[in-house]
């Protein structure tokens, strides 16, 4: 849940979520099944989309 944050830099999002694939070797299917990313704040929805994008990007680079 992303609510309450002031903002999130792309470096952080990439390391945190792309890192699950690159470093922790979790595959995208596993993450889709076990990780739910969401926010109730409209202005933070882009950050959720970016986190999902970094998982996707890391999966294609892996």
């Amino acid at each position: 849940m992303f609510d309450g944050v002031a903002g999130l830099g792309s470096s952080f999002l990439e390391e945190a979520f792309g890192g699950l694939v690159r470093v922790e070797h979790m595959n995208k299917k596993f993450l889709d099944e076990h990780l739910l990313l969401y926010t109730e704040e409209e202005e933070l929805e882009d950050f959720v989309a970016m986190a999902k994008f970094y998982i996707e990007e890391a999966s294609t680079l892996d």
Partner: protein, 348 residues
């Protein structure tokens, strides 16, 4: 007791003569040092500043003045006891970026343990507006003079925000800048979540890339300004590191160096379009494009985003008619990287 031979007598004579000369030379050296210390005590160096202290309109003179301050700070590292004065009374106009890089240079000076305190000559003779703006930015506190009380000038429309500095990618600093400093002046900043992301990303870049050789100071500096008449807000992040053209990964520079050579502005632009990270990892180094420049791209208002690093200057403008980019190479380098977002706030 054996009678000394002629050879022993000669050796004793030589030894006592050497001891005598050694004693004299030590006394002379000691007195010489005393004399030179006395001479230094009364000697002073004066650092001149240009009338227009602005990176927009007087770049080369400003960076030359800053380079002179840096050179003097190196002399101070060698335990010179010479007093240095900075002549700020010459300045008739100062821009927010000019003020921040000056403050950062003075900050650097204060971090040299052997340095004598840098003095600002005749503050009473300064242009009152310049004095007020530097006071707002925290300049006098840096010089150990303490902040002046509220100063009133003819131009009350321009406000500078007191600088913040740190070494880590500190999430608190941009939050404080947005809520404590800018909100009382302009209300909530547009898309402030993205602004937060942009500023923290710029700080992360300083932490990860900027300081590869410098050991004196490894800080970032953050400040902002508000021009009420123009409804313009500027947010600035500065570091004194190796500069973006100097920290591009070798592989990338080999690819583009044949085209760009010493075109620092071109290299800054390339750093936005390609992954610039010196870490050589493909997933890193997108922050400049996605967050730092990306903030302006996402906004619904006009403005510009500018990066000055070494001799290069890259400006990305967002106007009602569309976006454009400009590049310019200067004769003299700014030591470090300055990132500036300038936004014309939309009317309510």
């Amino acid at each position: 007791m054996r009678k000394p031979t002629r050879k022993t007598k000669r050796r004793n004579r030589i030894c006592s003569r050497k001891a005598y000369h050694h004693q004299i030379s030590r006394r002379n050296k000691k007195e010489g040092r005393k004399r030179s210390r006395k001479r230094f005590k009364h000697r002073k160096t004066e650092l001149q500043c240009p009338e227009i202290f602005s990176l927009d309109s007087n770049f080369d003179e400003v960076v030359s003045a800053l380079a002179e301050v840096r050179e003097q700070s190196k002399v101070q590292r060698n335990k010179s006891s010479e007093q240095v004065f900075i002549l700020l009374q010459n300045i008739q106009e100062i821009s927010p970026a000019g003020a921040l890089v000056l403050v950062a240079e003075i900050f650097r000076w204060t971090k040299i343990p052997t340095a004598r305190r840098l003095k600002a000559a005749s503050p009473s003779q300064w242009n009152p507006e310049v004095r007020k703006l530097l006071n707002d930015m925290g300049f006098f506190e840096l010089l150990g003079l303490g902040a002046f009380a509220q100063m009133n000038t003819n131009n009350e429309g321009i406000r500078y925000v007191k600088f913040r500095t740190g070494k880590k990618s500190d999430g608190e600093a941009p939050v404080e800048l947005l809520t404590d400093d800018l909100e009382p002046l302009v209300g909530e900043m547009p898309d402030n979540h993205y602004l937060y992301a942009a500023v923290t990303e710029a700080m992360t870049n300083v932490r990860q890339h900027a300081y590869q050789h410098d050991r004196v100071v490894t800080n970032w500096w953050l400040s902002a300004s508000h021009h009420a008449e123009k409804e313009e807000v500027r947010i600035l992040v500065y570091d004194q590191g190796s500069g973006i053209p100097g920290t591009l990964p070798k592989k990338l520079t080999q690819d583009v160096v044949s085209i760009l050579r010493n075109d620092h502005a071109g290299l800054i632009e390339k750093a936005h379009d390609l992954a610039r990270s010196a870490s050589k990892e493909e997933h890193r180094g997108h922050g400049l494009k996605r967050d730092v420049r990306g903030y302006l791209e996402r906004l619904n208002c006009c403005g510009y985003y500018r990066v000055i690093s070494l001799r290069g200057e890259y400006t990305y403008k967002k106007l009602a008619s569309g976006t454009s980019a400009e590049k310019h190479n200067h004769d003299n380098p700014l030591k470090g990287t300055l990132i500036e977002w300038s936004l014309t706030l939309p009317n309510e």
